[in-house]
Symmetry: C2
Subunit: 184 residues, 2 copies
C-alpha cells in the first residue's frame, strides 16, 4: 500500500530533525534524510525545495491562519488588537507544533545558515501581517510598524510560554500586548 | 607625509562603495579596494575584519551614542521614551552619514550576503539597547521587547525622512513614537 503524501512529509521532517541533531546540519544530505524516511530523494524534493525548508514546514499554515484572522477581525478594532486576536487564533498551531519547534530551535542555534533562513521566515511573516493590515485600510508604513510591534509582542509571549497549555499561551499573548502598551 | 589612519579609513570606505557599485560586491576584492584607496591590503585589514565590515563603518559610534543616551536619561522616564530620546541624540550621526547610508543601501539591496550582515547589525543594536535598558532596572525580556518596539518605531521615522534636515528627523522620531502608541 503506498504511503500517503502527508505521511511521507511528516516522516521526512522527523528524519531531518533527527539527522541534523545527530550529525549536524552541514554533514547531513537530503539523500540521507530520504533514506531514513524510507522514501526516494525525488520524493524529498517533491515536498521541500532544499535542505533548509524541511525545517520550516508549517510556516505556510501559520501565515494562512494569521492572515485570515486579520481579515476577519471587526473593522473598528485597532491594528495591534487585530494582531493580538490573530496570534490567539494561531495558538492551536503552536500547541501542536511545540515539540518540533523546540527541536528545530536547537538545530538553528547551532547553524548560522539556518539562522539566516529563520530570520527571512520571520521577516516574511511580518510582511504578510503588514499586507493584511494594509488591506484593512491602514497606510502601508503604519501597517509595517504595527506588524513589527505585533511580532515583537508575540515573541515576548512565546518566550515565556512553558509549552504546556493553550490557555496559558492565550493569557501570555494578552499580557504581552498590554505590556507593550505600558512601555511607552 | 604619511596619511592619517582616519583618512585612510575614510578613503577605504569610499573606494569600497564605488567599487561595489561599479562591479558588484561579489566581483570586488579587498586588494582592489586597497589599491583604489592608495593603501596596502594590510592596511585594509588593520581597519576592517573582512569585505563586508567596510560598509558598516560607523555602527560602533552609533551604538555608543545610543547606549550612552539610554544610560543618561532620567530614571523616571518610561522605556520607550528613553529610546526616543536616544534616537534623537543620534540624529547628528544620521545627518552626517546620510550620503554613505543611501549608497550603502543600494549595494545591500543587490547583495544577499550583505542583507544577512545588515540584519545581524540591526539585531546587535537591538540587543545593545535592551542591555542598556536592563541596566536601568527593566527585566531583561521587557527590555528586549522595548528595544524591538523602539527599533521598529525608529525605522518607521527613518523611512519617511527626506535626508535633509536634523529637525525634520527629530520631528519624525517623535511622531513615530506617538504613532506606535496609537496603534494599540
Amino acid at each position: 500500500m503506498p504511503r500517503s503524501g502527508a505521511d511521507a512529509r511528516r516522516r521526512l521532517r522527523e528524519a531531518a530533525l533527527d539527522l541534523y541533531r545527530e550529525h549536524g546540519y552541514d554533514a547531513t544530505t537530503t539523500a540521507q534524510i530520504a533514506e531514513r524516511a524510507g522514501v526516494t530523494e525525488r520524493t524529498y524534493f517533491r515536498h521541500f525545495a532544499d535542505k533548509r525548508e524541511v525545517l520550516f514546514d508549517g510556516e505556510d499554515d501559520l501565515r494562512t491562519v494569521l492572515v485570515d484572522a486579520v481579515a476577519a477581525a471587526p473593522p473598528e478594532l485597532p491594528p495591534l488588537a487585530v494582531l493580538t486576536r490573530a496570534f490567539t487564533a494561531a495558538v492551536p498551531l503552536f500547541v501542536a507544533g511545540r515539540s518540533v519547534a523546540e527541536r528545530r530551535q536547537e538545530i538553528i542555534v547551532a547553524t548560522p545558515a539556518l539562522q539566516e533562513r529563520a530570520h527571512a521566515k520571520s521577516a516574511a511573516l511580518t510582511e504578510a501581517l503588514a499586507t493584511a493590515l494594509a488591506a484593512r485600510g491602514l497606510p502601508r508604513p503604519s501597517a509595517l510598524l504595527a506588524g513589527r510591534i505585533g511580532m515583537a509582542s508575540f515573541g515576548h509571549a512565546l518566550g515565556s510560554w512553558d509549552g504546556r497549555s493553550a490557555s496559558e499561551l492565550e493569557r501570555l499573548i494578552a499580557e504581552s500586548a498590554a505590556e507593550a502598551r505600558s512601555l511607552g
